[in-house]
């Protein structure tokens, strides 16, 4: 498992990030002693560091330079400051990337994964991709594949994203707007139909695997994953 060190003095943010990274099978650690973070860094020798700028005693730039004396591991800054100068300062001090608060989990995980992939390579990545299993049905959201009884079907990126959100939300109903956010196309934008079209396609692919009625529409609210194992 890849080790990530989170250096952030706001405990809640640190814990939330830690929990989220753990969902992606990344071994995240939190710093508690801000007088000297180097002992923990040396002991842990993390694969990647998430570093806040405003810290008690010394700031993030200082620690970044300190880390750079002993390690070349990727360092991503997390900060509320969004000035050009702050970003330049961060990169000048040896950081690899920069995320401004408030940020989204998706951005963090995407940047973390990109850095890990770049530095340690795709194949060297020992961490496991998330998987979902229920009965005889298996779903690999990052490989866009769904499997049942030895038969595998490839999903489109949007279908995989939708299924992941529904599956994670179950037994609750996955909110329509939330699903929408997931498949919002950052470049060409989408209209009202896209969501229902994608859900229809997903249903059909599930049906091909012999899974019936597993996505229930809840009028005016969203969709619910209601998988029941049939023999």
């Amino acid at each position: 498992m890849e080790k990530i060190l989170i250096i952030e003095d706001d405990k809640k943010i640190a814990t939330l990030l830690q929990d989220y990274l753990k969902k992606y099978n990344l071994n995240a650690h939190i710093t508690t002693d801000f007088d000297d973070i180097m002992p923990l860094f040396n002991e842990l020798s993390p694969h990647l560091v998430l570093l806040d700028i405003n810290l008690p005693k010394y700031d993030g730039y200082f620690w970044c330079r300190k880390i750079r004396e002993v390690s070349v591991c990727p360092i991503i800054f997390i900060s509320a400051r969004d000035g050009e100068l702050d970003q330049v300062m961060a990169l000048e001090n040896g950081a690899d990337d920069y995320i401004t608060k408030p940020f989204s989990y998706q951005v963090v995980i995407a940047k973390v994964r990109a850095q890990l992939r770049r530095v340690y390579g795709d194949f060297a990545n020992p961490y496991q991709e998330p998987e979902f299993h229920e009965g005889s049905l298996s779903f690999y959201p990052l490989k866009f594949t769904i499997e049942r009884a030895g038969k595998a079907i490839e999903l489109s990126k949007n279908e995989a994203k939708l299924l992941e959100v529904m599956w994670r939300s179950a037994p609750n109903v996955a909110n329509r707007d939330l699903l929408y956010e997931e498949i919002w196309d950052e470049i060409s934008f989408i209209d009202d139909n896209t969501l229902s079209v994608n859900v229809t396609r997903l249903r059909k692919k599930l049906l091909d695997l012999g899974v019936k009625d597993s996505i229930k529409s809840v009028r005016g609210y969203g969709y619910q994953w209601v998988y029941k194992e049939e023999s």
Binding site: D10, L16, A174, N175, W184, D192
Partner: protein, 326 residues
């Protein structure tokens, strides 16, 4: 000089009366010598002119100052001219110092307040981040609604930050060569959640070939204000917000069009004023009246021409003319 003469008119009148009365006394006493009279008049005139000349040289600074009251005094001549002139300069310099001290005090206060606002906004971003992370990707209705409010807080914080930055605009301006479509796309994506929630759809029609020399941060903020307005005032679901650009001879014309409630004719000329909320502000209660003011200020600084057209229940169109620079 004119002021000097005008302020000495009474003195001239006084000398004239003296001369005439002296001559009159001699004349009435029976001493009628034309040459003596001429001599007396000549003497008086020379003495008067001499007196005025000396006086003018001694008081020149004072009269110079008095004829240019719009110039702020910053140089003082405390060792020149007559004692009156010197003490006048001293008085001015004292007044100026007092005013400067007062001004410095206010400047320092203003700078402190700006720093405080900046720090405060950044501090507030941490709790907003926490709430944001705790409510992200959750289907729960309450959490969705909390997230909606967090979005509003975040927008508000940004507006505060940019308002206080506007004063130091020049220090905060980084010019980049950047294409308009990317800028618009980024601004639209920033408002993704708002679009989805209101069930509105962005329609962007901009060619990839339009490049601008501008500051990315300010430009996206400006667009963001206009987009969020377009969304806010389009309560009818299923509509679109259209963002398009055409190239004319000397400008790029960027339009942002919504099909919302529109703006009252009477309010239209005043929408760019600070704190102006108008009829729509009363209906929606979320307007600070700062959005369009900031937009117009930024456009002024960037040398863009901004205009607005609107019709009730048809929609509002914002047009920005961006000059093409070679």
């Amino acid at each position: 000089m004119r002021l000097f003469i005008r302020s000495h008119l009474s003195f001239l009148l006084y000398t004239l009366i003296l001369v005439l009365s002296t001559i009159a006394i001699f004349w009435l006493d029976g001493y009628k010598n034309h040459r003596l009279i001429l001599y007396v008049i000549f003497l008086w005139a020379v003495l008067t002119i001499l007196f005025l000349a000396v006086r003018y040289i001694a008081y020149r600074r004072v009269f110079e100052r008095l004829t240019h009251p719009d110039k702020i005094a910053s140089e003082f001549r405390l060792d020149e001219g007559s004692p009156f002139s010197q003490s006048f300069e001293l008085y001015l310099s004292k007044q100026y110092q007092a005013y400067q001290i007062d001004l410095q005090k206010w400047r320092a206060k203003d700078a402190d307040r700006n720093i405080f606002i900046n720090q405060w906004v950044h501090q507030m971003k941490t709790p907003v981040s926490v709430i944001e992370l705790m409510t992200q990707n959750q289907s729960d209705t309450i959490l969705r609604s909390i997230q909606e409010e967090t979005d509003k807080i975040q927008q508000g914080l940004d507006t505060v930050l940019y308002t206080s930055r506007l004063e130091t605009f020049e220090n905060d301006f980084v010019v980049e060569h950047i294409d308009l479509k990317t800028l618009v796309t980024e601004a639209v994506n920033d408002h993704k959640r708002l679009f989805i929630r209101q069930q509105l759809y962005p329609k962007v029609q901009i060619e990839d070939t339009i490049f601008l020399e501008t500051d990315k941060k300010w430009f996206i903020f400006l667009l963001g204000q206009l987009i969020s307005n377009a969304i806010k005032y389009s309560p009818q679901k299923g509509n679109t917000v259209e963002i398009s650009a055409v190239t004319s001879a000397t400008t790029y014309e960027l339009t942002i069009r919504d099909h919302g409630i529109g703006i009252e004719k009477a309010d239209l000329p005043r929408v760019f004023r600070p704190f102006f909320t108008g009829e729509n502000g009363r209906k929606f209660q979320q307007s600070t009246g700062m959005g369009l003011f900031l937009v117009s200020e930024i456009c002024k600084k960037l040398d863009y021409q901004l205009s607005i057209e609107s019709e009730i229940n048809v929609g509002t169109t914002i047009l920005i003319r961006i000059p093409i620079r070679n």
